[in-house]
Symmetry: C2
DNA sequence: ATGATAGATGGAAACGCTTACACTGTCTAT
DNA sequence: ATAGACAGTGTAAGCGTTTCCATCTATCAT
């Protein structure tokens, strides 16, 4: 079953069938109708491989993430696909599993499939891999890459604004000592968030107490352990901000384990606003980082760059916003 | 950059380059080495589209799920990909969004990309779409399809065993009245789970009280509302089994809202064991349904069928098992 | 030495599309 | 009536691989 059989049945040339499929306006409505009917009858599905090969366009966009089981990503993937579909494009998703070798494999897949652009939503990528894309003029879009490059779009998150909002919210509730559970320092985004927290303290004239900053791993277990360490201090903070929601959720478990209540004894704030955060007990106050917005910007940047053949990428900034739920409350009076 | 340039640099024909890439044994080690060096130097990545076109094999397997943001699926996707990679194959994931039209789009994508097999992990699919695959001899693997067909593999879940384990666990804890929050009756898997529950009651000589069976939607909000309805009965059940974990989590929220405690006042059991379930407060007792196992079976079934050209599919059964955590406890003494 | 055999390599057709270019027939302006 | 423009369609040359078949060389039994 191929375009030739369709052409034969519709009594036209293969060129006309191709034109009809691609919605060219140079086909009379009657002819197009005949072709469409033939396609229908034969249940013909054009071979994507042949199309890509013949046209030189794959209509495929790559999306590289670290781990689909990390709840931050599914919504990102979904939004990215939704918008790609709107533009008549397809998406190739690849997981790096936080592993540099797997990253190479992902890149290789993208290259072999001749994608029209790649969104790299995980911070760590080797320089030489970027070069592979660059030399082939494949548009790239990054999320928070530390090193912006020419020909590459960048989606920046205003972490400062997000963390500031969280700190101010806690200040308004009367908290004086705020702890922070960071992500792994090997991740650029975790480093940026920690820095934003330190700056927010400074801006609000709060003293920085490094013993109240613990390092987690952006997963629940890390948050759990880090929180236990924080609670071990004779005078622990009355509020804690976590570098991401998973960490916050792990931290909440640790608080309960020690027989303390949230938010009466201690307030917790997360970051990201993963779906789950609305359903924890109590519901988590968190800084929302819209995956939909990230996906939309990244895709558009890639699509535009590819279509216009522009050589320089764009920059966009995304504003996170605080979602106040039930895990934050006034500073306990008994506390210092 | 293509195979010709590699051939020129390595001073061989394109046929030999192709053979080297595909690991044919008919190439002398020295020649192969020369070719590999040329590939390296030129940073050549073979064009997947051309490969698929030329060989007639796409080495691509489709995976159709309903919704990647449903926490049941990410782990399934990951496991499926992991095993596909082991076999040197690639995966094309598509979401139906529970929408029959989107399902058609997904199937169309699979057909256009000439996949070597498709795992359909969402129950609802129109008969005529199955035919499209059948007539093209594309292997199919289903999860719990109600209507087994020839040439199609089927992964069956022993829901009866899973629900039985949950019911028996509650019985041992002394519970006499057990409620159930079902999924949407439009979903085959939800219907099967409900039926399994009813049968389990029967088998244990418990009377079936239909007012203690509520319908949810397999999401948290549905579980929340269904639980509120259950709690509205003057004598509500002391234990409730939910059709999936999301429903159970929503139900837990409702319990807290009414000022009751888990498990002291009421026990809750989920189904699936999504990652999150270990981190709820209290951690959810649930019936684990291994996504890894499902993925493994589905992929193997497809791969074997395609490789051997077998015309009849296989059947596998998966045994769920109860994971006891903190959301279940002895029947409250004050209760009837 | 000779023919047979096997193994390595090359030549070129095929895969199923897209698209530049050529062609035909109408229509418009003169 | 006629040249020019233009719309609709067809012809055929790619696109980058794979793979069948042919060719060549070296080895071996005779």
């Amino acid at each position: 079953m191929n375009i030739k059989e369709v052409a034969r049945l519709a009594k036209v040339s293969t060129a006309t069938v191709s034109r009809t499929i691609n919605g060219s306006d140079k086909v009379t409505p009657e002819t197009a109708e005949r072709v469409r009917k033939a396609i229908e009858t034969l249940k013909f599905y054009p071979n994507t491989n042949a199309r890509a090969l013949g046209s030189g366009r794959s209509s495929l966009y790559g999306l590289i993430i670290s781990d689909i089981t990390n709840p931050f990503f599914p919504e990102l993937v979904k939004s990215f696909e939704d918008i790609a579909v709107q533009y008549g494009q397809e998406v190739l998703v690849a997981n790096t599993n936080y592993d540099p070798h797997r990253m190479e494999v992902c890149v290789s897949r993208m290259l072999q499939r001749k994608v029209d652009g790649v969104a790299i939503m995980t911070s760590e990528i080797a320089e030489h891999l970027i070069d592979e894309f660059n030399s082939r003029k494949i548009p790239l879009a990054f999320l928070d890459t530390a090193t912006p490059q020419k020909g590459i779009s960048n989606i920046l998150v205003d972490y400062t604004a997000g963390i500031d909002a969280a700190v101010e919210h806690l200040l308004e509730l009367g908290h004086k000592t705020i702890g922070f559970i960071a992500g792994p320092m090997s991740l650029a985004s975790a480093r940026i968030r920690k820095r934003a927290f330190i700056n927010a303290l400074k801006r609000n004239d709060l003293k920085l107490d490094t013993q109240f900053i613990e390092e987690g791993n952006h997963r629940t277990d890390g948050g759990h352990e880090a929180m236990l360490r924080l609670l071990d201090h004779k005078a622990h903070p009355t509020a804690v901000i976590a570098s991401n929601d998973l960490t916050a959720i792990g931290a909440m478990g640790a608080v309960f384990e020690r027989g303390l209540r949230i938010p009466q004894d201690i307030s917790i704030v997360g970051f990201d606003d993963i779906d789950l955060s609305a359903f924890t007990q109590p519901a988590l106050t968190t800084v929302r980082l819209s995956r939909q917005e990230i996906a939309k910007m990244a895709f558009r940047a890639l699509y535009n760059t590819y279509q216009t053949g522009a050589t320089k990428g764009a920059e966009y900034t995304i504003q996170p916003n605080l979602i106040v739920r039930k895990s934050t409350g006034p500073r306990p009076v008994s506390k210092h």
